[in-house]
Amino acid sequence: MGKGKDPPVPRMTQATQLVLRALLAEPTHEFYGLQICEAAGLPSGTIHPILARLEGLGWLESRWEEIDPAEEGRPRRRYYRLTDDGAENARITLAQAGTRTTTQGGLRPRPAGGAA
């Protein structure tokens, strides 16, 4: 029986982690680009490729603001929200990324009793 293929995961750069943490702060909330910039502390140029990648993986969904731009006299906002799968994958991936960071740095935990 063949093993099922693991779903693709975005490269967990610092910037991607910051974006995911910002979105996970309110996983059911819809954010627009500038809000994500502010929450993640990143410039807009950085976040848009990340959002596109996450959307491509199905971790995010997006939609247009429901206004008539001609009537309002302004362009529409694009809102982004984590999908259910995306939120779960994000939590798991961030946890793994956090674990990799802590084990790469300091001493490896050793079992009690002195065994190497």
């Binding site: 500038l34 848009h48 490729p49 596109a52 491509g56 529409r76 906002r77």
Partner: protein, 239 residues
Amino acid sequence: MSATPPPPLGETARFKLEVVRASLDRALPCTLDLYRVLDRSIVRDVIRYLDDALILARELYVGRNLDLGRVIIALDLARDVALALDRDLGGALVLLLDRDHTRDRDLSQALDPSPGGDIFVDLHRDNRQELVERVKAALARMVELETYLSAEGKVAGSSRERSNVAVSRAAARVAAWSVRVLPSADRPRYDEEFRRELQDLADTDAGRRAQFRHAVRLLNRAVSLRRAVMKARSRRAVS
């Protein structure tokens, strides 16, 4: 500065002035880098920034009758020094390579412009100093011009084009360039999204510089965004 008030500036002229200033802002740290490492490629970067600034400054001088004369003279002088330094570095390298190549110590010192490469560095100390001073002088002339234009603008009142425009047209233009990098199918979406971001910035009283910086950051990562949307599309096509 001229006693005659300058003509009102449109967004295009303002954008060009901003690019002149931005080119000088980039040139100065490069010239200071030359104290750390005397690298011909850095000198060439400086020449490129000064060229960019000069082309636009001359366009504005001829087209708009702006008092850019002193800025252009300062840029020309800085560029002359940069070109001379570039020639000297090329000449010095050729001269050194013609020497006896068995003298490894001298050659390695000469090719290594870091502290310790005394022969190479001392040849160009004065030129570097002059280049820094010339670029600073050009920047100072530019700052004087900006101060003069903004003061005149306040005195002349709201007759200028931009007084009724919420979003900086210069920023909108740069954001539009970043959209052009994207695949055609994605352009309408990102065009509207980026325009709305600039509108949001304008609504929060972010100045033209903040909007321009925002747009430049979009442009800087446009290629990365292009790759991301194309990869997302190919993933959707496969699934």
